[in-house]
Symmetry: C2
Subunit: 139 residues, 2 copies
DNA sequence: CTTGACCCCGTAGTGGGGTACAGGGTCTAC
DNA sequence: GTAGACCCTGTACCCCACTACGGGGTCAAG
């Protein structure tokens, strides 16, 4: 006997995942969600598992994955012969990526910090060391 | 006597600043460059100082300022009574901003690093701790 | 049986930072 | 005088992740 799972409307899955209805439809358009069956009236009828899928997306986003990458992870999860190592290497690439961004930001912060220290906040902008530094030919 | 400064075409200023012609026109549309005088034929005629202004933009971008913020800095520079402290406080805000972003990224990196370590790369995706973690109800 | 909350679709707008045409005119060197 | 490099405008397009809106249909409570 086929136990018919109770289904959820888009408003329910969205609320359960902490998202807006428009966002869920947007994820569907992006291919992150399979198109669900529809009711007579054309309403989307989601199985309960969709909430978990949405939460997966939300959490992966929090870890710095783009929607495209999240789509790849979801596909990978559904690929029969896929290996754990595939997922791991994506995570490692992302870690390297994040490390790069941190280094970039640290360099910016150092440079700005040095300028602020030189400036001291006194005097007119015409003598501001920050603006002068930005103006110099050799940065 | 008025010494007429030699002027530069858009291609020259763009090349001198390491930008594309389209990008320079884009900056003009964004209000970062004053509309320069035109030749008989309608060609933009830039004074040499424009190259420095473009380089200012390029360097400020490298320090993490958005184009909007760069526009504000340029305006500030041209404001008679503006104080160095104004520039300094913008720089400090930007530093705090960058520090926030670094912290965000570090948290992502830590979380991902932990998952990668748990994973080890062995086994099928169906038992991948990374995917399982993303799937868990309480992250 | 009506009201209000929900759902549908398609399209367009946001912001940030550009890039790419198309369909012209101009300038320079040979 | 002509080829090729340069310039002009305007519009459209790219990525990214949404968000909003108009103009409808539907469903449940009172």
């Amino acid at each position: 006997m086929v136990t018919t799972e109770p289904t959820l409307t888009i408003g329910k899955v969205a609320a359960a995942a902490g998202l807006g209805v428009e966002t869920v439809r947007f994820y569907e358009r992006k291919g992150l969600l399979v198109e669900p069956p529809r009711s007579q009236a054309g309403y989307r009828q989601y199985p309960a598992g969709t909430v978990r899928r949405l939460q997966f997306i939300v959490r992966a986003k929090a870890l710095g994955f783009t929607l495209r990458e999240i789509g790849e992870l979801l596909d990978l999860r559904a690929t029969p012969g896929a290996r754990c190592a595939d997922v791991q290497s994506r995570a490692e690439t992302k870690i390297a990526d994040i490390a790069d961004r941190i280094e970039q930001l640290r360099a910016m912060k150092r440079a700005l910090g040095g300028l602020v220290a030189q400036c001291g906040g006194r005097g007119p902008v015409s003598q501001c060391p920050i603006l002068e530094a930005l103006d110099e030919v050799a940065p």
